[in-house]
Amino acid sequence: MRKFTFILMALFVGTIARAQSDYTKSLNGIQWVKIESKTDIVVKTHSSNELLIKSGPEVKTPERAKGLKLVGEGGTDNTNVGFSVVQDGNTLIVYNLRKSKGAEIYLPASQNIAVKSTWNGDIEIDGFSGEIEADAQLNGGVKLLNVNGPVTANSLNGELEVVFGKVTQDSPISLYSTNGAVDVSLPSNTPANLALSTLNGNVYTDFEVKSEDKNGLKSVLGRNIKASINGGGVKISMKSTNGNMYLRKK
């Protein structure tokens, strides 16, 4: 009996401790989670149907800010972990209000997520099967690992790296970068229609693809490569204006 009480106490203390540094919110009725951040953001999967924000122990509120609330262009800190979380219809909008130090966000694997980095932050998303939209608007890079669903990713100066798990859906995949490299790993047996194009960069791949010239003329958009692999299937469009492109077999 004493042992049982001890375990109960430990659990209780654990919950209290967690509640102090983490933020959770149920995802009932939520279709999309939109995350916006100026700093690095890492999105991982967990098994419960809730949003969990781990800001980590290193985030400390300055002594002078005691009794004050953190405010930013995304709203007011209503989570005590430096985030503003607002529900809009079936969408949960998550703003990271801090401009330094990253955060880890945990969501169920099937969640549709849209992540936007508006300054220097890198976006890393790992292990999701729902739909993913990633937009690194300035200097951040995008790294998507073990994703299975439709992906729409875009970066300006950062690198765009995507490692696909199994791709079976028919919704298109679209990966564009202006100045960064586009680096994609795809299972070699993926049925897909590929469209690769780059203006000033080069395309490197070990898939069987070849350049398509219309009547010997270069296309308006520069080097365009269209190819279907494994009999054709989901449309995968990749484009880098100034960067190189790498398409690897996994």
Binding site: W32, T152, S171, P172
Partner: protein, 261 residues
């Protein structure tokens, strides 16, 4: 003697098979016996009925029949000859057959022509309906919450050889107002095939003024230079003056601006 009836002799009498004495005796009895007279009368009628019912063909009849048969045979032979005669008229017959076949074929062709026309109409109608459905699907996909679905909607443009104004306008709206860079880029790639349309030209010029993504900016600049659109010069100059325009965009504009002014 009265009681000695001659009933059994009546058939022989009638057939004339009795000898003279028997016949005389029979007739003598007959005169005295009313019964026998009556019997004779009845027998006579009976035999007459027989004779009438089953007339025995006479030799003459038989001969006549055979001669008639011969005659008939001869006549029939003549008929066969008559039938054989039209063989000289076989061209006419073939023509008749040909005419009937031609009629059959013509009727069949006519039928299949009408059928075909109806089928064509049906196909045209179906195609129309399919296009309508595709257009509806395309337009509704382009309003979807998911960026990937919106891109899918934009990609539907490949299904239309000559998209109507509604589709062009919907794509133009995607290029001008979609919040997702990938959707805007895909919409541009869809529209760049229809630069002969005035709507598309105007859209590109408007998009160039408000677009922030350098990849789309440079793609629009190239498309507008390709079609030698003079009105593009103004927004390009504005981009040159802007501080946040990417250096490579400025280089690009400087390189192409002389060719369209």
């Amino acid at each position: 003697m009265e009681k000695n009836h001659v009933f059994d002799q009546i058939p022989d009498y009638l057939d004339g098979n009795l000898n003279k004495s028997a016949e005389a005796e029979f007739e003598k009895h007959l005169e005295q016996c009313a019964d026998c007279q009556k019997e004779l009368e009845e027998m006579k009628t009976f035999f007459n009925v027989f004779e009438e019912e089953v007339p025995t063909p006479s030799d003459r009849l038989k001969a006549k029949f055979e001669s008639t048969l011969e005659q008939e045979k001869i006549n029939q032979g003549k008929v066969v000859q008559l039938e054989a005669k039209p063989s000289s008229n076989w061209i006419g017959n073939i023509l008749k057959i040909a005419a009937s076949i031609a009629l059959l074929v013509a009727a069949f062709q006519m039928g299949s022509l009408f059928q075909q026309r109806k089928v064509n109409e049906d196909i045209a109608q179906l195609q129309d309906e399919t296009n309508q459905m595709k257009q509806t699907a395309m337009l509704s996909l382009m309003e979807n919450q998911s960026a990937s679905k919106r891109i899918q909607g934009v990609n539907y443009i490949e299904e239309f050889e000559q998209p109507d104004e509604a589709i062009i306008q919907a794509l133009a709206n995607r290029l001008l107002y979609d919040e997702n860079d990938n959707v805007r880029m895909t919409a541009f790639e869809a529209l760049v095939k229809f630069t002969s349309s005035e709507t598309v030209k105007t859209t590109f010029i408007n998009a160039l003024e408000q677009e922030k993504n350098p990849s789309i900016q440079v793609a629009i600049i190239q498309a507008l230079v390709q079609i030698q659109e003079k009105k593009a010069a103004e927004p390009m100059k504005k981009l040159l003056e802007k501080e946040d325009t990417q250096p490579f965009i400025k280089d690009q504009i400087r390189a192409v601006l002389p060719s369209i002014t």
